[in-house]
């Protein structure tokens, strides 16, 4: 296994094929929810709560506007139900998410009244005239403080603001924590924070629903999970069944998890279109995205490592408190971050003694949801910051301390202390490769050309992806995302159409899934079309989340294509009286000594030449395959990120000089898409490390509601990213593929924090939070009597 080895001897898998979907988008040919033209469409705007917490005592609607312009909680009471989602765990405390606030408002930006207008501008004008009578209540805005000093519960039926608290002491953790000195162990503790962030896709959310002339309702929604949205809408709207609802997801301008949950706006728009028998649309604007789309992260952590003089970590103790916002979103719930962070925290390290406590708290903020990485960035930040500090305590090389703790290839497959079943990997290999690359390619200077102080930092990550039924059951998920389906149809002209239940929204499935189909069918990629997003056409799928698509949908595509090939061989055998063993499939045709028949000609027989078909072979040429992985605990990609930064000690500004990713995601289907996924993820991780934070004041008022205040990195701030590949195929997936869509965004906060720490450690500056703002560093430098101006 050498560097950059991704070639498994395949014809199509592993080819750096330019994405077939890009030309259309680059030419401005995308079609998003807001682009769809429907005559007579009513546009929606919301009157949203101006305060974080309060009793909603009255709603005053302008009387001069026609009935049916405004919709309140009372108006929609029989029409659609509040959203409710709970983990199937006794520790979980759920609370219904009202479609429109009813009795109480619980975050600034919560929808209270829906206004309709002929245009969005008119709807906004109308919504602005609504007056709300709200008696303000004290806002809960600090989850850590809420743990120590519980306040009044947001939800009347709950006796505290605890969403969930779970904790365990695994192995000998308790004994070690009780008496580390008796075992000759040292310890180091850090109190860490990660800021609240949000996905900020280019296209915000949106939904358009209209009555289908053929009956029922058509719903266009910017979502990652069309079929689940259909199921959920039928559950939320008593007047509609799943058979009445056709969800058609058009182009989606990025999701990153923020479009995987069901939101109140989608339910309201669909219910109103059905009730009014008119098209109704809501397009989220950026302000609404900031205040009312799901947020992520916001961890407060206390992490302690117990270690010996060799750097071996004997035990880890982790308390993770996450600010879950006001409600549990469907389906992620407010417990998703803290539970996952503590579950994956041990990463690539062989640590058997682990005590953890995961606490999720209701606060007066927009609800928590998934965002690329989900819990992993928090877990990685905790583990990688603390292992860095172990190395500092010992004066040891941080890579050596990592090596001392890595799970070895001989231990694979390896079940972690928290029960994750790592499938394969050689973690040491990526550490060695990173060390070599940095030594050979990066300047060793400790001062940058502009006088900044230079530091290098590392972070490692094991990325569980494409987990199947067993893992979702273990987590208590109310829904099990354990399979994926694909239907392949061979046409008479030799083209192949494959409908999938996943939803590419930038991941390149139109290319990568076609490469898998080409690999098996030997048809050229140009003859293969991947279709998605229409629940009336595609087999039921669970959508594109959790880095599952290439393994799950790819597995289903492979299975369906094998059936296509099997039928082609069978018809060819009958046609030519050929021995099946002598039939070769190449270039989209069956070839035997008796002759050659193209797939198109074989399909023609199955469709319009059935007289040539024996009764033992059914007509038609369509196969649905339902892929369920043989091992359901997921694939495990792994990565090391390295960052070299320069810190300006006079201003506190951090500049990234070099960035390296060394990764192994098993068999690579398309290396261009792979690198794109990594680079896009790293850019988002850099945002979280240095710039992005959704800030609320002490009254629960959001302070960052434009991109002027909430800073995402631009191309100027994202440095060139070097990528090295290794390939340890998964033993459990088709072709040995492993999911990898989120890892790029996971490790940068930890790697960059470690690099900044390295740059400033001798000045007494610690790095315990993200984003690592200039003020955070400059204040410490001033306190230490440093910084050029002092």
């Amino acid at each position: 296994m050498g560097e950059s080895k991704v070639d498994g001897g395949y014809a199509h898998i592993g080819r750096p094929l330019a994405r077939v979907e890009d030309a259309r988008h680059l030419a401005g040919g995308g079609a998003f929810v807001a682009d769809i033209q429907v005559p007579g469409c009513l546009e929606v705007a919301f009157c949203r709560s101006p305060v974080a917490h309060g009793r909603l005592k009255g709603v005053m609607l302008p009387p001069e506007l026609p009935a049916g312009t405004f919709w309140t909680a009372a108006d929609i009471a029989g029409l659609a139900l509040p959203i409710y989602c709970a983990l199937l765990r006794p520790e979980f405390n759920g609370a219904p998410y009202p479609l429109l606030a009813d009795g109480k408002v619980r975050f600034a930006g919560e929808p209270v009244v829906l206004a309709l207008g002929a245009t969005r501008a008119e709807a906004e004008e109308r919504a602005e005239q609504v007056q709300l009578d709200i008696e303000p209540l004290a806002a809960v805005v600090d989850a850590w403080d809420e743990v120590e000093h519980p306040g009044v519960p947001l939800h009347d039926h709950l006796d505290s603001n605890l969403v969930m608290r779970i904790g365990r002491a695994l192995g000998d953790a308790q004994a070690i924590i009780d008496d580390p000195a008796g075992r000759g162990l040292r310890q180091v503790t850090r109190r860490l924070s990660m800021g609240r962030v949000l996905a900020s896709p280019l296209e915000c959310r949106g939904c358009l629903a209209y009555p289908d002339p053929a009956g029922g309702v058509v719903v266009h929604v910017s979502s990652q999970r069309p079929h689940l949205i259909r199921t959920f809408l039928a559950e939320q709207i008593p007047g509609l069944t799943e058979a009445d609802i056709r969800v058609v997801v058009p182009d989606v301008g990025g999701g990153f998890g923020s479009k995987s949950n069901l939101y109140p706006e989608e339910v309201l728009v669909t219910a109103l279109a059905w009730k009014l028998r008119r098209p109704v649309r809501w397009i989220e604007d950026r302000y609404e995205h900031f205040v009312a789309s799901n947020h992520s992260r916001q961890h407060e952590q206390r992490i302690t490592a117990y270690f010996d003089d060799t750097g071996r970590i004997h035990a880890l103790d982790a308390l993770v408190v996450v600010d879950a916002g006001a409600y549990s979103a469907k389906t992620s719930t407010g417990a998703i971050e803290a539970n996952m962070a503590t579950n994956v925290m041990l990463g690539p390290y062989d640590i058997r003694n682990y005590r953890f406590e995961a606490v999720s708290i209701h606060t007066n903020k927009s609800p928590l949801g998934p965002y690329r990485g989900v819990g992993r960035p928090g877990g990685c930040f905790a583990m990688e910051r603390i292992i860095e500090e172990v190395a500092r305590e010992l004066g040891a090389d941080p890579l050596d301390v990592r090596r001392a703790n890595l799970i070895s290839p001989a231990q694979m497959p390896y079940v972690s202390a928290t029960g994750l079943a790592y499938d394969s990997g050689n973690y040491r290999e990526v550490v060695d490769a990173a060390e070599r690359f940095v030594a050979e390619n990066w300047s060793a200077a400790r001062q940058a050309d502009d006088g900044g102080r230079v530091g290098v930092g590392y972070a490692m990550l094991v990325e569980q992806a494409a987990h199947g039924a067993e893992e979702w059951r273990r987590r208590g998920s109310p829904l099990i995302y354990g399979h994926e389906s694909a239907r392949a149809t061979l046409n008479m002209d030799g083209t192949l159409v494959i409908e999938v239940g996943t939803l590419s929204h930038g991941q390149g499935h139109f290319t990568s899934l076609a490469q898998i189909a080409a690999e098996i069918t030997t048809l050229p990629v140009s003859a293969i079309r991947i279709r998605q997003g229409d629940t009336s056409a595609a087999p039921y799928g669970l959508g594109s989340v959790a880095s599952r698509s290439i393994v799950m949908a790819g597995g289903a595509v492979a299975m369906a294509c094998r059936d296509i090939v099997g039928k082609a061989r069978a018809i060819h055998a009958v046609l030519h009286e050929a021995d099946e063993a002598q039939i070769e499939v190449r270039d989209g045709a069956c070839v035997s000594p008796q002759g050659t028949t193209s797939f198109g000609d074989l399909a023609r027989i199955a469709y319009v030449g059935v007289s040539k078909l024996p009764r033992s072979i059914s007509p038609g040429f369509s196969f649905q395959a339902d892929y369920r992985p043989s091992v359901e605990t997921g694939t495990f990609s792994y990565t090391l990120h390295a960052a070299r930064v320069s810190v300006d000690t006079d201003t506190g500004f951090v500049r990234i000089l070099d960035y390296l990713v060394v990764e192994d995601c098993g068999t690579v289907v398309n290396p261009l898409i792979l690198d794109g996924q990594i680079r896009g993820g790293v850019a988002q991780g850099i945002g979280q490390a240095l710039y992005e934070e959704m800030i609320y004041d002490s009254n629960g008022q959001p302070q960052t509601v434009t991109f002027g205040d909430y800073a995402v990195p631009s191309a100027v701030e994202v440095p060139p990213i070097s990528i090295l590949h290794f390939s340890t195929p998964s033993p459990h997936s088709e072709f040995g593929m492993k999911g990898m869509g989120e890892g790029g965004a996971v490790a940068p906060p930890a790697a960059i924090a470690n690099a900044v720490r390295d740059a400033l450690a001798d000045l007494g500056v610690d790095v315990c939070r993200t984003p690592i703002t200039p003020d955070y560093l400059l204040r410490q430098l001033h306190e230490a009597g440093r910084g050029g101006t002092r």
């Binding site: 245009t119 969005r120 501008a121 906004e124 004008e125 602005e128 604007d285 302000y287 006079d650 201003t651 506190g652 500004f653 710039y691 434009t706 002027g708 800073a711 990195p713 631009s714 100027v716 701030e717 200039p774 003020d775 400059l778 204040r779 001033h782 910084g787 050029g788 101006t789 002092r790």
Partner: protein, 282 residues
């Protein structure tokens, strides 16, 4: 949010524009580049019932470079960035314009609009105050010229009467004799508002001027620091000394300033001086 309803007037002549301005009074706002006005309307921080778009008034698009610089009210940041006139002053104007936001904003936003808007974080209030610019205003009542230092009365507060239109910003002829300059705009992220912004200018008379922007309520002169530069003469003054001098002046002028911000302003000043000494203008 969408823009609230408003009437849009697009006069083709200055007389027409001034007549509209007089007729519409406080209901109307003058629209030039709209890079601050329109977002403020979207966020309902401003709600004018009419906009008078002055960008079709041909005479307002002129950028004159001699004998003195005069920038009409429709001259954009990008117009300044693309100005080809030679000389230290124009190098400075180009460098300053090129670091404002991103190209799409520079192609729309106007210099005079930035002065009228009077955002303390704005780039032009700093540079044009330091260059002792004036603002020409007109109404049906007549014309007047106001020194920019008086025109900007405070944060987001400029001296435009309800019937007036700011026609141009003009620099004094002596500004064209600029000898050396240095500037430093500290931005945490490319294209965003400065967290500190400093200028060091040496005029034809050899005198230095030191100015800070991105500071409330408006541009701040640092005369003592400037005086030290004149005395220093030859070798580059030590960054630390300049910063210390600047910090003293900042803290004296703005006693309630956040100490981290103050040190960043002082640092920007020191870097601007350093750049001036490196003879960027030469």
């Amino acid at each position: 949010m969408k823009l609230p309803p408003f009437a849009l007037h697009v006069p083709r002549t200055l007389d027409e524009a001034l007549a509209l301005r007089a007729a519409l009074g406080s209901d109307a706002k003058v629209l030039a580049g709209g890079q601050s006005l329109l977002p403020m309307m979207r966020y309902r921080m401003l709600r004018p019932y009419a906009l008078i778009d002055i960008t079709r008034v041909a005479s307002l698009a002129n950028l004159d470079t001699a004998p003195a610089v005069r920038m009409g009210a429709a001259v954009t940041h990008a117009d300044v960035e693309r100005c080809t006139q030679a000389g230290a002053l124009f190098d400075l104007l180009r460098a300053h314009a090129a670091e404002i936001a991103f190209l799409p904003v520079r192609g729309r936003g106007t210099v005079v609009g930035s002065l009228v808007h009077a955002d303390p974080a704005g780039d032009w209030p700093l540079l044009l105050t330091a260059l002792d610019a004036s603002v020409e205003l007109a109404s049906l009542r007549g014309r007047r010229v106001v020194a920019l230092r008086d025109f900007i009365r405070g944060a987001m507060d400029s001296d435009v009467q309800v019937d007036e239109i700011a026609l141009a910003a003009t620099l004094p002829e002596r500004a064209s004799g600029l000898v050396r300059w240095g500037r430093c705009k500290l931005m945490h992220r490319a294209g965003e508002f400065a967290s500190a912004s400093a200028l060091a200018l040496q005029g034809a008379d050899g005198q230095w001027a030191c100015w800070l922007g991105a500071i409330d309520p408006g541009p701040l002169a640092l005369p003592a620091t400037a005086a030290r530069l004149a005395a220093a003469g030859g070798p580059t003054p030590a960054r630390r000394d300049v910063a210390a001098s600047a910090l003293d002046e900042i803290l004296a002028a703005r006693p309630h300033i956040d100490p981290l911000a103050a040190s960043r302003h002082a640092q920007a000043m020191a870097r601007a001086v350093e750049q001036a000494w490196q003879g960027v203008a030469a």
